[in-house]
Symmetry: C2
Subunit: 244 residues, 2 copies
């Protein structure tokens, strides 16, 4: 089930280990890229895992000992609220990092949506590595900063009042996340269930369903199946998403 990955494979296309995104990102700043040496160092402490769909990776509140990086597949990160509702914090795709913790414990529960391949890195060893290699750490800093921007964008999505608009933004977000990951340009894979989407958008299951129907009625999107959407009118869909 687990084995050491060889260094070279750690950052090979089409699933780079860390998608490099400029940090605070003055135009002048060069985009950080992992060197061979860094890939080697990471590979030395990482374990490659292949796990089946629906497997829980860790539970909210469990001691946080590892950081994970998605290589293939999709993962969801969520929390169950006292009210019984489930809030999905994020959907994670190849290149995404997860394992956010506080006071030594994981904040969310994470679960594989599809069959997944992951890199699992012990936090203590990673910490030590980052303290030694400022360049590598800078790459991670860029990554986390990017997550922060995403989180702000998500807040924007979720604070919209209309379900259709939220769903439109969600579809375009997933499309952007999966760009180049083996999907056609106007096609959006939706590995997660409607109820997961509802949890992410803070809508009821029914509202997501109705919003999907509405998008089809307006001929903006066609839902080919439960797990695949096709964009029919990218321009108007984009306009709807932008009309916050």
């Amino acid at each position: 089930m687990t084995k050491r990955p060889d260094p070279a494979s750690l950052l090979s296309d089409p699933a780079p280990l860390i998608r490099t995104i400029p940090f605070l990102d003055s135009a002048a700043a060069a985009v950080p890229v992992l060197t061979d040496r860094q890939r080697h160092d990471l590979a030395a402490i990482a374990t490659k895992l292949r796990l089946p769909a629906r497997m829980k990776l860790y539970q909210e509140g469990a001691p946080a000992t590892w950081l994970f990086i998605v290589a293939e597949g999709a993962v969801k990160s969520f929390r169950d609220l006292p009210s019984g509702k489930r809030r999905v914090a994020a959907f994670l795709f190849p290149g995404d990092i997860f394992g956010l913790a506080e006071s030594g414990r994981y904040i969310n529960t994470t679960q594989a949506i599809t069959r997944v391949t992951l890199y699992r890195i012990p936090l203590d060893q990673l910490t030590e590595l980052l303290r030694r290699d400022a360049e590598l750490q800078f790459t991670v800093l860029c990554k986390v900063t990017h997550e922060l921007r995403e989180a702000q964008r998500r807040t924007l999505t979720v604070t919209r009042r209309d379900a259709v608009g939220r769903l439109a933004m969600f579809l375009l977000m997933i499309k952007a996340d999966l760009a180049g990951a083996g999907a056609e340009a106007d096609t959006i894979p939706l590995p997660m269930s409607r109820s997961d989407i509802a949890g992410y958008l803070a809508l009821s299951l029914e509202a997501v369903s109705r919003a999907s129907a509405e998008l089809e009625r307006r001929r903006l999107v066609k839902f080919e199946s439960r797990n695949l959407a096709r964009i029919l009118d990218a321009k108007r869909l984009g306009a709807l998403a932008a009309a916050v």
Copy 2:
């Protein structure tokens, strides 16, 4: 208006330059603290600013050249949406960093709420410094990771359906943010306007007003003045906030 701060003052209580928070935060990881050397390096490139209330610090979309750190006062970070609504991304208090950018441009507009004292650091010099000093960078990484956690918590606040609950969470959040910053234990300073709060909570101005009235009616909170709230029943207020 601007002058070089002396190194020692950069990280003196009660307004530490960077509030140190454990990163991915395995219980074992030591809490990063700035060394004298690091304070000195930062002070060498930082400029101390004192600015009046209501001053805009930068506009959304402007080229991002500086990072800011709040030393005294309160700042708001917001965006105006096409619909005319204004979404407040964050309120920033002493110890908070701001200046989040993407593709070399600031994402939000920021404006002083009260009179403020800030440290302004050129991004290119900071970047260079971080690349040299892994320990310092680690502190920043912890800080950004903390912001990420906060962003997730905020999403939780904003996705609640009831205005009273959102306001309760907001009050406790501000209280936590300002803990130890010269406020009594059961007292919450609210330097921002109702309309700013509305923008943060994604509620209408009126809803915030009604929710405040409701909190008073239930005798959970007393609004001493427009800018000061007093907690009357911390236990029940906490229960309300937790009942997401």
